[in-house]
Amino acid sequence: MTIKTEPFVINFGPAHPSTHGVFRMRVVLDGEVVLDLEPVYGYLHRGIEKLAEQRTYTGIIPLTDRLDYLAAMSNNLAHCIAVEKLAGIKVPERAEYLRVILAELQRLCSHLIAVGAFLNDSGAFMTPILYMLREREKILDLFEMLSGQRLTYNDMRPGGVSQDAPEEFLPALHKFVDQMPRYLDEYDQLLAKNEILLARSKGVGILSKELAINSSASGPVLRASGVKWDIRKAEPYSIYDRFEFEIPTGTAGDCYDRYLVRMLEMRQSVRIIEQAMKQFPSGEYRSRVPKLIRPPVGEVYSRIEAPKGELAFYIVSDSSIAPYRYHIRGTSLINLTALRDMIVGWKVADLIVIFGSIDICMGEVDR
């Protein structure tokens, strides 16, 4: 007697603990093996691009907070740099340094969540993510001190930052930067060489170099595949050309490499912050910019290296107070392009791990 089997369809999400938001994957399973996968987007669509067309250039900043809400500072920075390019606004030195410090702190913050969530998805019950949330909390304290909010900072403005750093900011930052490498060591000790984690993530969900480039992946996902591409180095924006840091790259492009690249990038971020603190100048924190910015007619495409990858804003201006067209290159959405190729053929458990290792944020995927 032969047993007749047939594949069955299962929905991962939109309400599933490991889809990091309202993402839905329609998965065809043969027992435990994934035969096919179809991502379904759009559960968190808020029409941010369209909303932005009716707001002033300053009024868009709260909207960018809500894109990738785990890295709001980076989004603010990307938007402000785009507007500055478009309108030709100069940024004072102190603001540039403050921006770099904030962006790197935000990178630490986002990577901590990414790594923690990835480890949590691979089954380490809540422990790594809680440890990492503790570090993130310290960063959030700094952000709160600066901007008054903990998630949607709305702190950067075209031409600088909204407020100067208070006098207690730098000592606190100093303390944090002193502590951070030790905690990173501890995270490495916790799970980096864990045999079970190695078994779960080494060689799993390989994204080849060619596929990574062809699917226009960016950020740690691309770098884990062995492509040395970081916009901070390749096309330095702000004042990143003044700092010394390395671009960690992986070799295999598997989940473990993506994890490792993030861990190494955190160390580089700490390094950048240390250098920026040493050079931190005094002076103006914000150049004189009109309240309603009216950039000249034209368009701009400006990109930065956000924690999750290349974040770019394309703004078309018709010389009014609101952009004519506002397009966002959402990092997470484009990193998800190769999702099917990475997952098909692996098991359900791997699906979760691979998906977790890409590190998406639904606010940015659906916008």
Binding site: R55, T56, T58, G59, I60, I61, P62, L63, D65, T127, Y131, R134, E137, K138, D141, L142, E144, M145, L146, S147, G148, Q149, T152, N154, S162, Q163, P166, E168, A172, K175, F176, Q179, R182, E186, Q189, L190, L191, A192, K193, N194, E195, I196, L197, L198, A199, K291
Partner: protein, 165 residues
Amino acid sequence: MKFERYGIGIARGMMVTFKHLFRHPTVSQYPEQRLNMSRRTRGNELIWNNVKCTGCVTCAKSCPQGAIHIETTVDPATNKYNVLKIEVDTGYCIQCGLCVEACPYEAIYMGYSVERAKYRRGELVQANEMLLASPDRPASGYMNPHIARELPRQTLLVEKIVEKR
């Protein structure tokens, strides 16, 4: 699964978790133990200064959500605006603080307190006298360094959690 390192990786991870058993917990118990918020906290409600306000409506214009609603009349005697009604729909407000930044007369502030939950949607709409500052509704130092100086120092986790090795 390969045990190339004879399970040392697992053992080292176990040591880290074991060490945490004897460390001070990070959490604080909220209603009893309260941490000081940032001096620039953008709290739940807007605070309006009726003396300083000239009714120029800059705040309402700068609000990306359209949450501020102001009605004014012109007083022919002094040639100034009279604010008839200022209404803030806190339900629309996203606490972005752009109105505070925009106000040329420092007549509007963010609130410092956060425990401002309401049971009904209608209660979120606040108008005129409800927006004035009071001991119950202190103003936050957001964009106002002179207020920030008076507020208590923010509690920082970096200073609280110092682990010895």
